[in-house]
Symmetry: C2
Subunit: 504 residues, 2 copies
Amino acid sequence: MAVAEGVDRAFEELRARIAQYWDLAKVQMILFWDQRTMMPPGGAADRAEQLATLARLTHETLVSDETGRLLEEVRPFGESLEYDSDHASLLRWLRREYGKAVRVPVELRAELSRAAAQGLPVWERARRESDFGLFLPVLRHNFELRRQYVACFEPAEEDYDHLLDDFEPGMRTSEVRAIFDRLKEGLQPLLREVLDSEPPDDSFLHGTFPLAAQQELERRVLAGFGFTPESWRIDETVHPFASSAGIADIRLTTHHREHDLHSVFATMHEFGHGLYERQVGPELARTPLARGCSLGVHESQSRMWENLVGRSLPFWRRFYPDLQELFPSFGSVGLDAFYRAINRIRPSLIRIDADEVTYNFHIILRFELEQELLSGALDPADAPEAWDAKMQEYLGIDVPDVADGILQDMHWAGGNVGYFSTYSLGNIVSCQLWERIRADLPGLDDEFERGEFGSLRDWLAKHVHRHGRKYMPTELLERAVGGPIDPEPYLAYLRRKLGSIYGL
Amino acid sequence: MAVAEGVDRAFEELRARIAQYWDLAKVQMILFWDQRTMMPPGGAADRAEQLATLARLTHETLVSDETGRLLEEVRPFGESLEYDSDHASLLRWLRREYGKAVRVPVELRAELSRAAAQGLPVWERARRESDFGLFLPVLRHNFELRRQYVACFEPAEEDYDHLLDDFEPGMRTSEVRAIFDRLKEGLQPLLREVLDSEPPDDSFLHGTFPLAAQQELERRVLAGFGFTPESWRIDETVHPFASSAGIADIRLTTHHREHDLHSVFATMHEFGHGLYERQVGPELARTPLARGCSLGVHESQSRMWENLVGRSLPFWRRFYPDLQELFPSFGSVGLDAFYRAINRIRPSLIRIDADEVTYNFHIILRFELEQELLSGALDPADAPEAWDAKMQEYLGIDVPDVADGILQDMHWAGGNVGYFSTYSLGNIVSCQLWERIRADLPGLDDEFERGEFGSLRDWLAKHVHRHGRKYMPTELLERAVGGPIDPEPYLAYLRRKLGSIYGL
């Protein structure tokens, strides 16, 4: 950000500290990316030390007494600024983060990091050996630490609010509960109807799909979306993610499986995350505002490119001939049959493989269990039983073992409690934005059919991406769609799409 | 390093600071590697800021008042330690580095960095456009800054000693001059004799060599040398280098050219650098001792694997059949003809393409010009003329333009004055070590012919690598070969090898 003449000297000092903070935070992201894509396994021990040192310095830069002093000193300057200005937004962000960070004692913060680092390998082993007993102490300790973390703050409406706030700033548990109750109410009858209907044939989605052909298809799709080697790269990893080393240095990762086309959709998903970071306003560079607004809003972007674009008929009108060329087994499969197959609804054990409807039940289950584990209403030892019961209740599925049940996700091992619900919030927000986008851009289907995605990108840049973290999620949504988070567009979208596919 | 019970508390504190210092230094190396191998071009601006922040924090960690206070406090403890102990060596290193660093004012240090960062793109353009005038202000400024840098220290025997010391600790200009004078005396008549003889045919080294076959040959060679995916990787870049992100995370880079086999030797060269870092004693991890002793000793390792191993007959007895299999055009070329061709001596314009004999004249030329430029005896405006005159004197070559003359190297643009001589010192040291290695390991030729390099690796680990930077270069050499740096083994090696190839 350029600072005008006569600007507050204390603000300049604060800005320099925050620039250093953000440089260090970005460096951690690069090391994290490197660790998961490039690092030889032998580098693990040294890398852990390097990351710990960076994490400590990053945190110290943010919460130092000096930051607190400067924040006080800069108050009159801050109050003289327009709410929407970059400087005012940076100060709002900083006050919020600083205010939260200084409440957590150094020892607790260290223990939170240590428990996460130590918990992940235990979880990996427990999952591999399908042994919940191994994981139980980790789960117990991590929830105990969350209770200590919550106790650092002034009481909120609910304890869980404090955890949620770290991933979805400003969101309250009661709001999410109301949204998820409405989702259940809308999706349960839809799911019953769908499951009572004749499912589309999707046998052709299983087979052998050479990796080079998958990569070529993804290369063409990404090139169409706006991926350029000038500012993007894509690499293989085990658990895919998107990362940004700078506004013009976006790194996607993917994981190919030879027996299905899963990674085509996963790559479009990661592109959505990457594009958000790529289109942040350049004036926000070297500030923590140069990042997506919340996990939920971030997920709205990945879901949009994966589902609203990537599982749509107009998109495949453009790319299905490419897919048929690269995978000759699809020569005898019509576009419509393919479209129905990639949108088939089928309750399953594993969250990350779930379809657009059942995915939300995986999330609701976790959201409910997390609250019970935090309050103590559910003892960690009883969590697998509670998990399995909810899987039966929501999806009618028997869980054969803990590896494909409660041990399937790494989140709780890494201490990320409060994270899951942002996935479903992302689904919901993606459809709220989509409704507005379709109204603003009536020619979108035709553009997709021609392989053009520029006007979608531009709309997202203008209404969402360029603002980075200047606003709270609710403020951003208010600006973009004129209202609060609302599940109705999402429910309407699913009813419409599945109604047509299943002939409901 | 493990610290025994009852060890000095101040030393523990100092060690923690130094561990942080080294973590940050390693992170910079990772970012440097990433920048040159992985980073999309769009990441350049953010990367420059990230590196500048890290450089500042790394430097501040080293030279803080706190480091100085702890160094004083720890003095009695240091004096109680064995000279060879890891702790004593760390304190010696730290005292030396701290003592040098605190003498350089912050502003000068910043200007040295800035001038280097700004000089490199100017050099690139000047070289591309063959326009020395563009580069002249950079050259003038960088030498002026070196004079200011020298003035920060107590006078030494010669001003240039201070520059040399940054790359080859403890080495004096007068020592290098004496060594180089002896090199000239030994090599000039040898070069004349060689050039008067019938040169070996090397026409088959020029042609078209598919990159995939080059990579496969290198893969086989590296696997034989001891490269394992567990701790190593290799990637493409423009100007190859080796880097270490940790003792078990070694990253080589290479640059393939389709019209020659240059990169096979360049890759062996970088392997030598990498192996040094890979075999540093694990007890030195997270200390600045976990690194090669000096640039000269480092270069002795790369030259050893490139030339003493990689241009030897026993090595090619093992690998020539692989080369012939991968490049069928060598089917009609005998091993002996190939061996003679890859060791052909031919004066040429470009240092990095020079053979084992003429390479040293490229270095001597730069060493002599640097001293004249530093003292002011040579005005930078007259440097191209002086360069061309020495090329004629030493190699009998006319320089057609500055791009292939004084502008060929980036070192002066980046402010690395005093660096070049370490390349020839490396050649010399490699042969001193080699003499001792051959005496200790009489079966080496047979092992190479069988593709076994383990006993060479182990010898180097024991006598050189494991010590890292515990000793000064002269101390290390004294331990390894029982004497100071000495050009005679190198001269004898070249006379022997070329005598046989050229029938002198």
